[in-house]
Amino acid sequence: MQSSIQHIIANNTFWLSPQRCIYWEEEKALILSDLHFGKTGHFRKNGIAVPQHIYKEDLQRLIEQVVHFNPKKIIAVGDLFHSKENKELELFAKWRNDFHAIDFILVKGNHDILPPSWYEQKNLTVKEGFYQINEFGFVHDPNEFNMAETAVKYSFSGHLHPAVSMKGLGKQQLSFPCFHFTKKNAVLPAFSKFSGHSIIKPKKGDLVFMLVNERIVPL
């Protein structure tokens, strides 16, 4: 596995994994966003023949990350699931059962539309709006979060599926999914490989870490 990159925020150590998630050392927490689990199943159920392997590979990567970091808890900052229930979610349930000792917190995203009982059965702790540990906040859409109204000093989000584009001589242009850190907020790349991305324009002082061929490259 490619190596992770250390990133310090307010004296806390965060490891950015090339597999599109963050490990928070002090809290032993794995942070991820936009897994969109069940997306392939939802498409296929509706007669759109997308490759089915994607969801398995996504889950496999998650398992590898869990084995690698051995977290006590997982924090999903939204869009863990893509849509309504389908059979693929059974695989998630099976996995959840195998790793039942890990706390799993889901900060709900706009795609997380399953009934509350479903999350409960799968032993997921669901947070509406935002979730907080110490001065760190977790919220799906950074644009719908007013930090000033809370005691949060720094927040982690998803939703945007950020990517950054680079330009070079000779009209060359490349773009890569990325982690995007501003002074008060971090946006994670979408965990799922079956997700598009939107190009962000980093501001001065922002830190951007690109995912280049499963390696992390600071911009």
Binding site: N46, E88, M210
Partner: protein
Amino acid sequence: MKQKKSIGRELILQWLTAKGFRPFDFQLNTWDAIAKRESGLVNAPTGCGKTFSVFLGALMEFVDENPADFSSKKNNGLQLLWITPLRALAKDVGRAMEEVMHETGISWKVGIRNGDTSIAERAKQKKQVPEVLIITPESLHLLLAQKNSRELFATLKIIAVDEWHELMGSKRGVQVELAITRIVHSAGCMASNHLLVEDKKSGLNQQPVIGNSQPLVWGISATIGNLEQAREVLLAPLQKEGIIIKASLDKQLEIISILPDEIEKYPWAGHLGIKLAEKLVPIIENSRTCLIFINTRGMSEVWYQTLLTVAPQLAGAIALHHGSIEQELRLWVEEALHTGKLKAVVCTSSLDLGVDFRPVDTVIQVGSPKGVARFLQRAGRSGHSPGETSKIYFLPTHSLELVEVAALKQAIGENAIESKEPMLLCFDVLLQFLCTLAIGEGFRADELYAEIKKTYCYAEMSIDEWREVLQHLTAGGKALQQYDEYKKVTIVDDVYHINSRRIAMRHRLHIGTIVSDAMLKVKLLSGGFIGVIEEWFVSRLEPGDVFTLAGRNLELVMIKDMNVLVRKSGSKKTIVPSWMGGRMSLTANLGRILRETFNKALTDEQSIEIKSLHSLFLLQKKLSHIPRSDELLVEQIEDKNGFHLLVYPFEGRQVHEAMSAILAYRIGRQLPISFSISMNDYGFELLSDQPVPVDDSNVRDLFSSEQLLADIQKSINSTEMAKRKFRDIAVIGGLIFQGMPGEKKKARHLQSSASLLFKVFAEFEPDNLLLKQSYHEVLFQQMDETRLRQALQRIYQNKIILSFPEQITPLSFPIIVDGLSRNNYSSEKLEDRVRKMQAQLEKL
């Protein structure tokens, strides 16, 4: 041959005589052929009674079969199916037909079926089937999706395909092939009625309908280079040869170029040409009615506005007509054209086809028409009566286009009209068609396979490929796994059906093969609609960028709900959209003649176009070289953007796209290098951030035709050509939903982009049928080996001139500034490229 006495023909001839018409020979010949129950292709230009050839033939047949009661016999069932590519044509054709019926007293009714047909009208047609149904390919497929489609076509005598030259060569043409094979074979089945006996379960019509023999198939086509093949493709489902009937009507054509007063000041690049707008005013004013053809919708908006600005007196007398205009307005414009109420109509290909607008006596073509056939078709929109001269003005949008018109004149003189290549093995269209049948009466695999194999498009389809198609429909690709709920087509008693109402409804909304770029409305923040613009153009802009639309400079504020919100801008620096028009490629034909035209660049005293470009050619010669037809010019220019390698094969954009990819690949094999590739119809550019190692020691080998096939394959894989093809294929094949009124919100969780799908298929299911098709399409359409080999062999024989101009030349300018930049190629490691870019950033 002695013709047997025909009451029908006498009736029609009487009618024609009464109106003061005499039938043309090609019409008589068509009537004879129909009377003999032959199928075939009528080759006649627009505007000389081509409709009447097949239509009157069908009427005669009906009268002959019902001599006593042809004027009273009602509800005869569908007799004539009239397939037409454009909705706009249907109304006019229908009106012409109804007039005949009215005046001859024949009892037929005419129905129109297309996207504009109201629900009430559809219901009426269902209750009482009209004898003539004028229909688009899409709506025909929708009919095949009905449960009673077999019954509907049981009485059919003739399938007529109007403007077949326009349909063939596109996926809509493939739709027509599929519909024909289905209809003629189900008619065959009706006759032997074996299927109905088996079909107990559906509770359909248990009474065998009295078998009609197979319907005739008639195509109507303007002149193209491969008429024989056009007939073969159309009639393939009948397994009959059929005949070609040609109209020999020579029409005089006069082509007049509109020249800028000072060619030195006319732009070297661009697509708009509005600088010359004032020159159109006297032409418009001296015409009865004038059609102004603009290559794209967006540009036509600009032209319309510009004309109103330069000639405010024309307000109310000019109108705009293009495909994205709402139907009511479109119909109004067409009506006003018929009645001669308008002085001029600014239009796109939306008015290329169809019945005549009699008042039209002048046609203006703005920008290169890119092909002889299209130019002739447009010219033919004026001066309809035989013997009358068609007059077409050509307005160049940049100076070099004048060379193109000189070449066009030459080509028309030589009658060098291009061919339309039929499409082969379009699995996306087939998948869509099978779903269409599956929501209708369903199909049996073996039976349908035999039918489909009879089409030209799928004649070479193997049984394995067919199984793969079925597998895709029933199991969603090859992966059959746990946790899967793939649901589309199910098989009950060997019959393939779609049972899910939701999937069926979505499919119905989605039938069609025209995948259009999403158009966004451009609105001022302060309110006020400006025009429409293609999404792909807007997607390249950043808020704050200034672009030109409708002659106004507009600053992009934001994009919201399919609306582009802008504010007026005083900025001088704007981006003029490189519109869709750039996407049409010069045909190979015209390319050759264009190369020959350059031979005369500084010597031709005859051609007004060439003469007017004298100063431009002198500059080209001074800075670099004017390529002769036996030379290939290669220019290498260095500037602040990097290192430009320019090659001028004059083969048309399509060939250049392929050739540039191969060249990039061959250079990239020698060292790690990245290219941005742009092209136009004259040549292409490989732009790199490092010097390009091309000199007289290796340049010839770059154009070698050895190892061509292997190099083609590799260069396809290393550029994005297949990805672009995949977009349309994914939509047609049912992987992507385009806009869908009402349902859009519900289907939000089913949205994905073609580029994302391409990526995941490439990674997770590389042998997917539709993915393979996109490579296949590049290989056979774009990178056609035969054509590339010919081009390369020609170049290999040529003298290659290497030139190192100090500055940008007249030939290179349009490519560098305004070329269509499409492909990227790199043989460098991704990480290395990132490192290089970062180093460049730091230097700034």
